[in-house]
């Protein structure tokens, strides 16, 4: 195989994930009990024998930096290649943040040169999928392409979220439309996965950056290459999802509780590696009940858990009920508390006897009506929910909200409310 450098775009704010991405970038959002979203892309790389990876960060990188560290879980702590976390930086005459995806790569073109890569594989850290990149690299070389775009068919109703393209019978791309409003461009969508010849990429970025400060692959680079260069589409068939919204985050997580999950997470030939904290086994008490759920090591279950996803170190007390919910690391659920369709971020504490996701009122969240409107209540990281109160649906509780923040509401937080000050 030629010398391949993978560049993972991990700087996105993921604003549609509300408080889940308030203090962390979207690739660092926990997923399927034990993982972070970026684990899927990182594991795809190493499972495809790509051990030279740059991760581009921008929005709130602490959590991501912590998670990746020196790359041990992925065997990416290496003397040559390995993983590098690349931060935005100041340079003489230029002190702005990344303007777009391609601008981020352009600003790190030094790394690409330093690594002497022949091919550059550009990936997004936001997607849940298992993909072997080697056949795509082979395709790229066989077509003698300058650029190959990973594509898949998406539902017609969603084409306005993607770069849509039309191809000829040889899979050469003839036209590319970034997020077209009209639904007449077909359903072949870009997955945000690109293979460039390193030399071509550097040239293109150099040329295009003069015209666009917000240089973007979908908007500028790809459309600019279609006419004059060999740009091909590589079709991917399989499960691929961009967990962009609270609703899709919830659905995608809980899909892993079905008898046949969308991805096999326990495939010894394609392990999804992650940074595991060292935890003892799950302990289920004598009164503990678990049904249709996934529970990670270090959890302690003394209450009832149904159709839920529990990360490491969750404690569910006696008499508590957790239903249709996602609980991240070290959440503590007090005795007799009831959770229904709730996403609880790390380290939150749910007071005894409190009801979360209560009642039939499905009023959308007042501050984020377009994002939180399907009945899911979201609790920010480290929030402390007082005992014996009732909290409705589509409620958002900001990270680290304390009991003080609940005072204005009394015993009932109605559906659609936001507790604490949203940043």
């Amino acid at each position: 195989m030629s010398n391949v450098l993978a560049i993972i775009m991990a700087g996105g704010a993921g604003t549609r994930l509300s408080v889940l991405s308030e203090e962390r970038s979207k690739p660092a959002v926990p997923f399927a009990a034990r993982y972070r979203i970026i684990d899927f892309t990182l594991s795809n790389c190493v499972n495809s024998d790509i051990y030279n990876i740059a991760v581009l960060t921008q929005y709130r990188p602490r959590s991501l930096n912590d998670h990746i560290g020196v790359g041990k879980p992925w065997d990416l702590d290496r003397a040559r290649g390995g993983i590098r976390l690349l931060q935005p930086y100041q340079a003489r005459g230029r002190e702005q943040w990344y303007g777009g995806t391609a601008d981020a790569v352009y600003q790190n073109v030094d790394d690409m040169r330093e690594q002497r890569a022949d091919h550059v594989l550009i990936l997004s850290g936001d997607h849940i999928y298992k993909m072997d990149y080697r056949p795509m690299l082979k395709f790229h070389q066989e077509k003698n392409a300058d650029l190959t775009v990973g594509v898949m068919n998406v539902p017609l109703a969603e084409t306005d979220r993607f770069g849509i393209m039309s191809v000829n019978e040889d899979m050469r791309i003839r036209a590319f439309f970034e997020k077209p409003k009209k639904r007449d461009k077909g359903t072949l969508a870009s997955m945000g996965i690109y293979i460039f010849d390193a030399h071509t990429l550097a040239e293109q970025l150099e040329a295009e950056s003069k015209n666009h400060a917000d240089l973007d692959f979908g908007k500028h680079v790809i459309p600019g290459m279609i006419e004059t260069m060999r740009v091909y589409a590589y079709p991917f068939e399989g499960y691929w999802v961009d967990v962009g919204t609270i609703q899709s985050y919830w659905e995608t997580n809980l899909a892993f509780l079905e008898p046949t999950p969308p991805l096999n997470l326990d495939d010894p030939s394609w392990v999804i590696h992650t940074k595991s904290s060292e935890r003892p086994p799950v302990k289920v008490g004598l009164q503990g009940q678990l049904h249709r759920s996934m529970v990670a090591n270090g959890s302690n279950i003394r209450g009832r858990v149904e159709h839920s996803m529990l990360s490491p170190g969750v404690y569910v007390s006696e008499g508590a009920v957790v239903r249709d919910s996602i609980l991240m690391n070290d959440v503590w659920v007090g005795p007799g508390a009831v959770l229904d369709k709730v996403i609880v971020d790390k380290g939150a504490v749910i007071g005894a006897g409190t009801q979360l996701g209560f009642g039939k009122d499905n009023k959308a969240n007042e501050l984020e009506p377009d994002k939180i409107n399907t009945g899911i209540t979201v609790i920010g990281k480290g929030a402390h929910i007082p005992a014996n109160i009732s909290i409705g649906r589509n409620v958002v509780i900001v990270p680290r909200a304390d009991e003080e923040a609940f005072k204005p509401f009394g015993d009932i937080v109605p559906s659609g409310a936001t507790v604490g000050v949203r940043k």
């Binding site: 992650t274 060292e278 086994p281 302990k283 289920v284 009940q289 996934m294 270090g298």
Partner: protein, 417 residues
């Protein structure tokens, strides 16, 4: 103060039967995701001791695999770290035999000890379950200027025949040491943990004690008279799981409401090489009250009061109770598993019934070892569908389903294939 820990992990652990037929006792899985040696290794690093030698002899492959370069314990270090010490061929004229006891094993590795230039050598067993800060023992050791300090604890008068029993003077010095006595007044037992002054250890074992081979059997009894030997009284939980019954009990003790051994203490984490597996999956019709479940297991049947290792699958309609199932055990639909220990990758065929009747005949080949109703199944063995297995049965590893008799296996039998 420069401390070197030497962990004795070469023992066969005969008392554990088929569980140690292909691995050293220190490498036997425990509590679902751990190995016995994890407790001692974690105690070392949690006590700030990052210079560790592990002495191997009996079936070391599993242990080597588990420890490797010591990553899980942060023992992969440029200076110090963990070193696996194998038996080796010595130069001509120095003899070429295997290590003949714990002290002999240490003597074998004198050049390693010399190389490490430690002030004190902490000698530990690799097969004990406990959480202990060795600094307290080392403090007593240095404050009393002892040549040797022995970790000791109280045991029941009925258990004295299993231990080295010591008698302490009021100043903490050891006045008597009896190895596994038939009868004794003492109820203070040696834990098999010793801190030695390095210079003293080397001088004595290569001089006066040259013909002594085992710390418990002959070294310590001889030292009581000739050296400053002190005892350090340890109060916490400690278990020697050298028998099937002790091993079973120590595992089951973890299931209690507030177990004596707290695995959930963030200030004293028991580190281990964790499997990279998804979270525990529990199906819609499963029942799982009162268990330890490890990542990667999948439960569709009923499990009560059991320790379930990573990757175990329990099919719908199967019932598992009071059992220990190690990694990747497969329990087929409708099977009954009662008071069974399965080693890794055992397959229990659909409808097989184990431990159904009340017949508690002790194992005929080792009646003293297997007599409490526990059936033990060796690694990778396949139990045929619908067969019945009695209690106190021992089944050898790697057996195909075809070797089992149609009429089943009665209590007390051994299946060797």
């Amino acid at each position: 103060m420069n401390i070197l820990a030497m962990i004795l992990a070469g023992g066969e652990g005969r008392g554990l039967g088929v569980l140690t037929s292909h691995r050293a006792e220190a490498a036997v899985p425990f509590g679902g995701k751990y190995r016995l040696i994890d407790f001692t290794l974690s105690n070392c690093v949690n006590s700030g001791i990052y210079n560790v030698g592990v002495l191997t002899q009996y079936q070391p492959r599993s242990l080597n695999d588990h420890i490797a370069i010591g990553k899980p314990w942060d023992l992969d270090r440029a200076r110090g770290g963990v070193r696996l010490l194998q038996p080796f061929q010595r130069a001509r004229g120095q003899g070429g035999t295997w290590q003949e006891g714990t002290a002999d094993a240490v003597r074998f590795n004198f050049d390693f000890i010399a190389e490490n230039n430690a002030d004190h050598v902490l000698i530990l067993a690799g097969d004990h379950i406990y959480k202990m800060d060795y600094n307290a023992l080392l403090r007593v050791h240095t404050e009393t200027d002892a040549d040797v300090t022995i970790g000791v604890r109280s045991v029941s008068p009925f258990d004295t025949h299993r231990f080295g029993m010591v008698t302490l003077d009021s100043d903490g010095s050891v006045t008597q040491f009896e190895e596994k006595p038939k009868r004794t007044r003492s109820t203070t037992a040696s834990m098999g943990i010793y801190a030695f002054k390095r210079s003293f250890l080397q001088q004595w074992l290569s001089g006066e004690g040259l013909t002594h081979h085992d710390f418990g059997r002959d070294v310590l009894p001889a030292l009581i008279k000739n050296a400053r030997v002190f005892g350090f009284n340890y109060q916490g939980y400690w278990a020697d799981v050298g028998t099937i019954q002790a091993y079973f009990e120590a595992n089951m003790a973890l299931l209690g409401e507030t177990p004596a051994l707290d695995l959930y203490d963030p200030d004293w984490v028991i580190h281990t090489r964790s499997e990279e597996r998804p979270a525990v999956y529990v199906g819609a019709n499963a029942r799982v009250d009162g268990n330890l479940l490890c990542d990667g297991c999948r439960i569709d049947g009923t499990v009560t009061r059991s320790v379930i290792g990573p990757g175990v699958y329990i099919a719908p309609g199967a019932v598992v109770r009071d059992s220990i199932l190690m990694k990747d055990t497969y329990v087929g639909a409708g099977a009954l598993v009662d008071r069974v220990i399965t080693d890794k990758r055992v397959v229990i065929g659909a409808g097989a019934q184990s431990g159904v009747d009340g017949d508690n005949t002790p194992n005929q080949l080792s009646p003293t070892r297997l007599n409490t109703g526990i059936t033990v199944i060796g690694k990778r063995t396949q139990i045929p569908e619908k067969i019945t297995l009695g209690r106190n049965v021992e089944i050898f590893p790697n057996l195909p389903a075809s070797v089992f008799p149609k009429e089943g296996v009665k209590s007390g039998e051994t299946v060797t294939g």
